[in-house]
Subunit: 314 residues, 2 copies
């Protein structure tokens, strides 16, 4: 069998090179491009790319030998532009973000339910004073997106005694969910949800799923998380819903424009929590492991794990 | 069968009276003492007390007909004083605090791991900046106390992929724990623990379990939770361990003296989080349910749930 060339194009190149060399993968030559000029020089040799989507996108046109692109991220939406080439296999990383996103969602949720910031302020004032609270048991959690991330969050919700509802394209039953519905049922489900979590990818169907008319259906005290993609929410409408009390609280890790511009009115909204797109993180050890498994499948001509359907967008 | 008199002595008297009357318990007369003078007047009639331990303690000597005392709290240590009478059945509430304490522990733990207070500060400055973090997966959680609360916290730890170790008097295997050891093994286990949670009741054996020499065995970055009783920790030694970095962080809900005095140096320690003994809460609906089940057992002459062994202290 002839040699294959892998080009690494990521912020963790050195780490990936060390891990993949140690795996002694057969017939694999590993190249690294740590800067733009190296990338342009080497891209023509790559049969395989392991890269951050946005970093690789401008080079794709010159990747004459490209057969497989392993994204180091879950989100590959920048590569789904219909003007981009689609004559290669695109795979993303799956199954490693569920636990981290679940930690993010429940860390924020429990911090809010238990008013941790308030007790932090009270401690500064040496004030011993308790405030009433409720537990998660019996509350309703609605998750948009029932893939591996959604399922993990669902299991965590069940662990804490929540009722867990899901929304997906198919409405198919999924582990961890009490019930799963299709998108047209969303308004009805919002009337029941205490906590709403979107893990949706950016596709045409998910664009501005949450608008003013949607927020009309939310419970007044509901908490909305977005750990999927920023395009699912109309941010102007969200701000109005938060100001008028249509929605109790929002916790956003993703935005229509990232980084969120310093002059965005979102920053100053008191019942809105902002984090810089870090609810999950591609730990190089996990991503390398996924690559190694997929490379064996690749040279054996088997279907790859995490393969993206360019039309569906996930 | 002759009538029994129940005296309610708690901050939730009205709520309990409504719930217990609605349960139509046979042969039960329900009295309420909402203040000190009513309590002194009625205590002599009570066959059964449903009360907060500290509120009932000074009246016990006058409770001539007392046969059963249902505590509305888990902690009954004020009644275990050897100078107090022990000629009645004492039961506490169990099984309802695990979920709430688990929410407390993991709310604080995830908030710390994900640096939520830091992102809160960054938001005020409109600063989009990510910081590295690790997940809970693979970390070691050590729980002191393997009863129903400890088991619930253990299950939550397992859900998040942690290795879960326990310490108990017996060292018996328990659901949710990878391994359970007896107290003499504590020092050795501390060397492995990333997160330590004490749910221990106040007994002679748990008094000042954590002293300077104990903290010598902790991992430098370890996080210590106390949601059991304050007497388990020597607070002066803890402060030194936090100042010198023997311990990374402590989260305390219970203290040697409560409320924590305003002049306590604990308030101002940066790597110490203080909450006012509210990690769990006796929701009246849950406590009333426990009383109803136990009352049926009581009139049938069956052993009561949650019965306290005055010598063991739990």
């Amino acid at each position: 069998m002839s040699q294959r060339t892998l080009l690494l194009l990521s912020q963790d190149n050195a780490h990936y090179e060390r891990l993949l060399k140690a795996a002694h993968l057969p017939h694999l030559r590993i190249l690294r491009a740590d800067n733009q000029s190296d990338a342009e020089k080497l891209i023509g040799e790559a049969h395989i790319l392991m890269a951050e989507p946005a970093r690789a996108k401008p080079l794709l046109a010159k990747a004459n030998k490209l057969s497989w692109f392993q994204s180091t991220y879950a989100g590959v939406d920048v590569l789904l532009d219909t003007r981009c080439r689609r004559d290669y296999q695109l795979t993303n990383v799956r199954g490693i973000f569920g636990p981290l996103m679940s930690e993010y969602v429940f860390g924020h949720l429990l911090s809010l339910m238990r008013q941790l910031p308030l007790y932090r302020e009270q401690q500064k004032q040496r004030l011993w004073q308790s405030h009433p609270y409720q537990g998660l048991k019996g509350r309703t959690l609605l998750i948009l997106g029932t893939g591996s991330i959604g399922q993990h969050i669902a299991h965590t919700g069940k662990h804490f005694g929540m009722k867990v509802l899901g929304v997906s394209r198919s409405g198919r039953e999924r582990a961890g969910f009490d019930q799963v519905y299709q998108l047209p049922a969303l308004n009805k489900m919002l009337t029941q949800a205490d906590v709403i979590v979107s893990v949706l990818p950016a596709t045409r169907e998910t664009h501005h799923l949450f608008t003013a008319s949607r927020f009309e259906h939310c419970k007044p005290g509901a908490i909305l998380f977005n750990v999927g993609r920023g395009n699912a929410i109309n941010e102007g409408d969200l701000l109005t819903a938060l100001r008028t009390g249509k929605l109790g609280m929002a916790v956003l890790d993703v935005f229509e424009q990232e980084p969120l511009p310093a002059d965005s009115p979102l920053w100053g909204q008191p019942n809105l929590i902002i984090t810089p797109h870090n609810s999950a993180y591609s730990f190089p050890d996990d991503v390398a492991q996924i690559f190694v498994r997929n490379y064996i499948r690749f040279i054996d001509g088997q279907p790859l794990d995490g393969k993206i359907d360019f039309d569906k967008g996930y």
